[in-house]
Every structure is written in structure tokens, then in C-alpha cells.
């Protein structure tokens, strides 16, 4: 599903050059649930951003669902992200000025879908994460766990093949973290969604199919 070959990422300033990722090779199968672990600053989020086509590598190739994305234009990348990928972030990234339902609809705004279709799909996504009774609430009226569930609903509303989750339980207590993890596991199990999750939590990582460890930008496991 996702194939990374010799991925490198170098950050350059006038005076310093930092190697964030060093020759990463990774094959992620369709329907796999992979977790990425490592100490802070080891390049986990950079790797996830590159997989999510939010950042471009300094070297190497990326192949998602059989398509090489290196030569994609900005518009093609946006369309690809919109149709194939779903994102979950540690800090949720919900739009506080919009109610929950509208937040979930956001990815569908960039598709040719009608308002009715958007509402149907967003409602279904919220039902899936158990938040159908909070559709008209604003994010600030929700708990951390509920906000992350809204973020998951937003990630799955477009039925993506891959979900990229950057420390989805990082801001939550263990009970809420487990709830979120259960939802992700369920999505992977029932819908066959491929999930790549960056985490610091060894316990959560153990629940996934495979664990990849990074250290100083290099893959150590």
C-alpha cells in the first residue's frame, strides 16, 4: 500500500544541516496497522508528514497505492490526500468556529459532493465514533477524547484507504486514550483501513500489527 525507498530528509539553514531522516525503507501492506516509535526529535512526525504528502523528502521515492507521488503537482497532491488519506493529529486541529458536523464535513468540501451528501456522510462518520448526539456542539464544548473522536470522524468521512495518526492519544488520559485506540483498531479490523500511527506509548504500540522504531532519523527496528 505504501512503499518508501531510501527516504531522506535534510533541513538546511545558512549555517547548519540537520539530517532528519536517513535512508528509510518501509513497505506497509494494505490493511496493516503500523506504529512508529522513537524518542522526541527522532523524525517520527517528519516520516508521517512525508507519507502523508504534507512534506517532500530530500531524496528517495514514495509509492502509495501503486502511484509514485514524487512528480505530483500541488493540485494533484491535494486531490490525492483528499481521496486516499485521512489525518489525525495529537492536538485535534478542529475549527473552533464550526460545530462538530461542519468540522467533519471539511474534507468533503474539496470534493464535488452536494450539501446533502456531505451531511449524510458526516453523520454516518460521527455515528461510527459514537458522537451522533454531539453534532451541533462546538469543539470547545467537548472533552479531549470527544474532540479526538471528532477528528477521527473527519479522517474517515471520505473513506480513505490510509489513516495517518500523529500521536492520537498523546493529549489524553489512559481511559480516553484506550477509547481512541479501540476506535482505530475497529476501523482497521472492520473496514480494512491501513493505519500508520506515531506514538510514544509502548502499550498502545503493542496493540498494532507491527512496530517500527526510529532513532536519530534512522530505522532501528
Amino acid at each position: 500500500m505504501i512503499r518508501l525507498q531510501n527516504i531522506e530528509k535534510v533541513y538546511r539553514t545558512n549555517t547548519i544541516q540537520t539530517l532528519a531522516l536517513n535512508s528509510i525503507n518501509l513497505d506497509i501492506e494494505k490493511g496493516e496497522f503500523l506504529s512508529v516509535m522513537g524518542p522526541s526529535g527522532c523524525g517520527k512526525s517528519t516520516l508521517l508528514n512525508i507519507m502523508g504528502l504534507l512534506d517532500v523528502p530530500s531524496g528517495g521515492t514514495i509509492n502509495i497505492d501503486g502511484q509514485s507521488t514524487i512528480s505530483f503537482s500541488d493540485k494533484e497532491l491535494a486531490k490525492f490526500r483528499n481521496q486516499k488519506l485521512g489525518f489525525i493529529f495529537q492536538s485535534y486541529h478542529l475549527i473552533n468556529d464550526l460545530p462538530v458536523l461542519d468540522n467533519v464535513e471539511v474534507p468533503l468540501l474539496y470534493r464535488n459532493s452536494t450539501a446533502k451528501e456531505r451531511k449524510t456522510l458526516a453523520t454516518a462518520a460521527l455515528e461510527k465514533v459514537g458522537l451522533s448526539n454531539r453534532m451541533k456542539h462546538f469543539p470547545t464544548q467537548l472533552s479531549g477524547g470527544q474532540r479526538q473522536r471528532v477528528a477521527i470522524a473527519r479522517a474517515i468521512v471520505g473513506k480513505p484507504e490510509v489513516i495517518l495518526a500523529d500521536e492520537p492519544t498523546g493529549n489524553l488520559d489512559s481511559a480516553m486514550g484506550n477509547e481512541i485506540m479501540d476506535i482505530l483498531l475497529q476501523l482497521n479490523r472492520d473496514d480494512g483501513t491501513t493505519i500508520v500511527m506515531v506514538t510514544h506509548d509502548e502499550f498502545m504500540a503493542q496493540k498494532t500489527h507491527r512496530l517500527v522504531r526510529l532513532f536519530d532519523g534512522s530505522q532501528v527496528q
Partner: protein
């Protein structure tokens, strides 16, 4: 997408209220400037209605010692004949002090067939006025010598007053004034003349005949001279006047010079208002620019998220522009509500078309201003790198 953006703006109405008020105020000022300018242009485009070139206005005050009306009449009639006989004079005639482009105005109100018309300019002219000023008779006739000597109550009116009182029908032979003491028969209708300069609309006008008793207070002689008339001739004319009206304050002015001076009464306020508006527009432009810039920096996370979930850079840029346009539209809806009261309530007595066009131009201007001010911040928003913006949050 529009509904989505509108909902977001509506939910942030408190934060957006300052910008909405700022755009609203600038719309109202621009509407005022455009109304003023359009009205002035409309008036400027209308014909002057008479030929003021080579027309001189002699002002004098009545200083004759004799109280005998016949003697007074004889002196003034002789004086006019002598002026008319000067080699470079085409024609001359007496007029009341409210000559064109002067600061004196005499106005009255008249009721005809129950219709009251206010602010009607009341002119007193002799039989030579039409010839001296090149005024066009639209129907009927101007006064002749016989009229000036007779006691009949007759009047000449201008086209604006005729249209107001009698519509499209011919006014000649009809009466104005419902009260017996004011009742006068219309004998002629003259074309409108812009007595208050290029930029002021012609007003309603009553042109009364000047009888012999009026010589002692008329105070003006209008003289049409040949193009060759120069300062030396002006001196000759002055001497003639000074010789006949001893101790009188005599002043000779050229109507074209008076027009230039009079036009400044309109142009100077328009220029001042335009300068104030220009400063306000610069202020508003900087305000819009600043608020959008601030919004972008505050909303980097949201912009990063939109990019992540599938918005191309152009879409993010367009979103910022649309948001600014929606805010402008909210301001303009409120502004249009106030602006439309002007034609509805007939404020300042300007034609409704002036207000409507001014409103249209002001709306287009505001949209253009907002568009220009939002393009660059929109471009900057599109350039936000999603990976960086999402990491910042």
C-alpha cells in the same frame, strides 16, 4: 463552500464586527463622495442655457438726489440708451441683483392649483434680458416695452417650473398663484439656465417684468460686448457710469470670471471631501490588509489542516478572498439600507438616479478595494507549508 464560509464568519461575528464597521463607514463616505461628484457631473453635463461670454455685469447703487419718479426713469433710460449706443456694446439691460454667478439670491414660494413650490428664484429683468444673455425662449414671448409700462400681471417662467406646475402641457396663457393678489398670467417659458455655476442644477425661476418703479433698487446692468472690448473700453464704460451716477459705487465684472470663482464653491468642498475619503480609504485598505494578515497568522493551524485534508493552495487563497468578500457584503447590506434612505426620503433634493448610481459605484469600489487588499494575504496563506503549520499547533 459558500455556506460553510458564511457559517464560519457568522460564528465569528464579534471578532469580525470591527472590520464590518470599518468597511461600512468607508462605504458611506464613498457613497457621499460619489453622490456629490455624480450630481456635480450631471449638472456640469447640462447646457448652461445662456451665453455668458463677453457679458459684463455693472453693479451700482442708486444715488440720484431727485425723488421725482419721472426724472429717475429718464436718467436710467437715458443711461441705458447711452450704454447701448457705445460702439462695442451689442446690447444691455437692467437686472435685479441676483444675476448669474452672484452671491445674491431672491427666492419665493408659489402655490398653483393647490401645488406649493418652494425655493423659486425670483428674478426681475427688463425687455433686453433675452437678447443680452442669449436665453432661449421655448414658448410664448419675452417682455416688450409695452408690457413694462402696463399694469397687467404677467410672468415668464423657466422650463423647470413649467414642468413642475403644468407637466408636459404648454403653460402659456395659464395662470400661476392661487391667491388673487399673486395671480399672474404666463406669457412665456424660457429654457433653464444655470445661474449658480457649472456644477449646480438649474432651479425653478420666475422672471418678473421690471417696471419703471424698479430703477431705484435694481442695481445691475448686464452688458453684452463685442469680443474686441478690452480694458480701455471697460474704463470708458466705467467713466460713463460714474458720470451719470455720482457718488455711486460702481463695479464692472466679467461673467466668465465670476463663473470661475463661483464654481469653486462646489469644487473646493468636493476636493476636500475627496481628500478625506482618500485618507479614509487608505486607512481602510491598511485595516483590511492588517486584519487579514493577522487572521492568517492566527489561523495557520486551520490553513494547515485544510491543506492536509485536500485543499490545494489556490483553494486556500480563494477562501481568504471569499471570506473578505462575504464580510464586505455584510457591510454593504447594512450600508445599502442606510444609503437607500436618501432617495426614499429625498434628502438634499437630488435626483434618485444620482443616489442609485453612487450606491452602485460605491459597492463596486468597496468590492474592488477588498479584493485587492485580500489578494496578497490570500497568496501568503496559500504559501503556508502544511507540515510546518500543523506542527506549530
Amino acid at each position: 463552500m459558500f455556506k460553510h464560509l458564511f457559517k464560519m464568519i457568522w460564528n465569528k461575528k464579534k471578532q469580525n464586527s470591527l472590520l464590518i464597521v470599518e468597511i461600512l463607514l468607508s462605504f458611506l463616505v464613498i457613497f457621499a463622495v460619489f453622490s456629490f461628484a455624480l450630481n456635480s457631473y450631471n449638472n456640469y453635463a447640462k447646457p448652461m442655457g445662456f451665453n455668458y461670454d463677453h457679458v459684463w455685469a455693472i453693479s451700482y447703487n442708486h444715488t440720484l438726489e431727485t425723488k421725482n419718479p419721472d426724472s429717475v426713469t429718464l436718467v436710467y433710460q437715458t443711461l441705458l440708451r447711452d450704454i447701448q449706443s457705445l460702439p462695442l456694446v451689442v446690447d444691455a439691460g437692467y437686472a435685479s441683483s441676483n444675476i448669474p454667478f452672484g452671491s445674491n439670491h431672491m427666492s419665493t414660494g408659489i402655490t398653483t392649483n393647490g401645488l406649493y413650490v418652494d425655493r423659486v428664484n425670483n428674478f426681475f429683468m427688463d425687455e433686453n434680458y433675452v437678447n443680452v444673455m442669449g436665453v432661449k425662449m421655448l414658448s410664448g414671448r419675452w417682455y416688450d416695452k409695452g408690457d413694462l409700462a402696463s399694469k397687467t400681471n404677467i410672468i415668464v417662467i423657466n422650463k423647470s417650473l413649467k414642468d413642475k406646475l403644468f407637466g408636459n402641457t404648454d403653460a402659456v396663457g395659464k395662470f400661476i398663484g392661487d391667491k388673487p393678489e399673486n395671480r399672474k398670467k404666463v406669457i412665456g417659458v424660457i429654457d433653464d439656465i444655470k445661474t449658480d455655476g457649472d456644477y449646480q442644477a438649474p432651479t425653478y425661476g420666475l422672471y418678473n417684468k421690471q417696471d419703471t418703479a424698479a430703477y431705484i433698487w435694481m442695481g445691475r446692468i448686464l452688458v453684452k460686448v463685442a469680443p474686441e472690448a478690452n480694458a480701455a473700453f471697460e474704463g470708458q464704460l466705467y467713466k460713463l457710469m460714474a458720470g451719470r451716477l455720482k457718488k455711486s459705487n460702481i463695479e464692472i465684472e466679467h461673467l466668465d470670471n465670476k463663473l470661475t470663482a463661483y464654481n469653486k464653491f462646489t469644487l473646493v468642498p468636493l476636493i476636500i471631501l475627496s481628500i478625506v475619503a482618500a485618507f479614509l480609504i487608505i486607512n481602510v485598505a491598511l485595516g483590511i490588509f492588517g486584519v487579514l494578515w493577522y487572521n492568517i497568522n492566527k489561523r495557520r493551524g486551520e490553513i494547515g489542516l485544510r491543506r492536509a485534508v485536500g485543499a490545494p493552495g489556490s483553494s486556500v487563497s480563494a477562501q481568504l478572498v471569499y471570506e473578505a468578500m462575504i464580510l464586505a457584503t455584510l457591510s454593504l447590506i447594512i450600508g445599502a439600507f442606510f444609503a437607500v434612505q436618501f432617495p426614499l426620503l429625498n434628502v438634499f433634493d437630488l435626483p434618485a438616479s444620482v443616489y442609485l448610481f453612487a450606491m452602485l459605484f460605491a459597492v463596486v469600489f468597496i468590492y474592488l478595494l477588498v479584493l485587492i487588499c485580500s489578494l496578497y494575504p490570500g497568496k501568503q496563506a496559500a504559501a503556508i507549508y502544511p507540515a510546518v503549520a500543523l506542527h506549530e499547533e
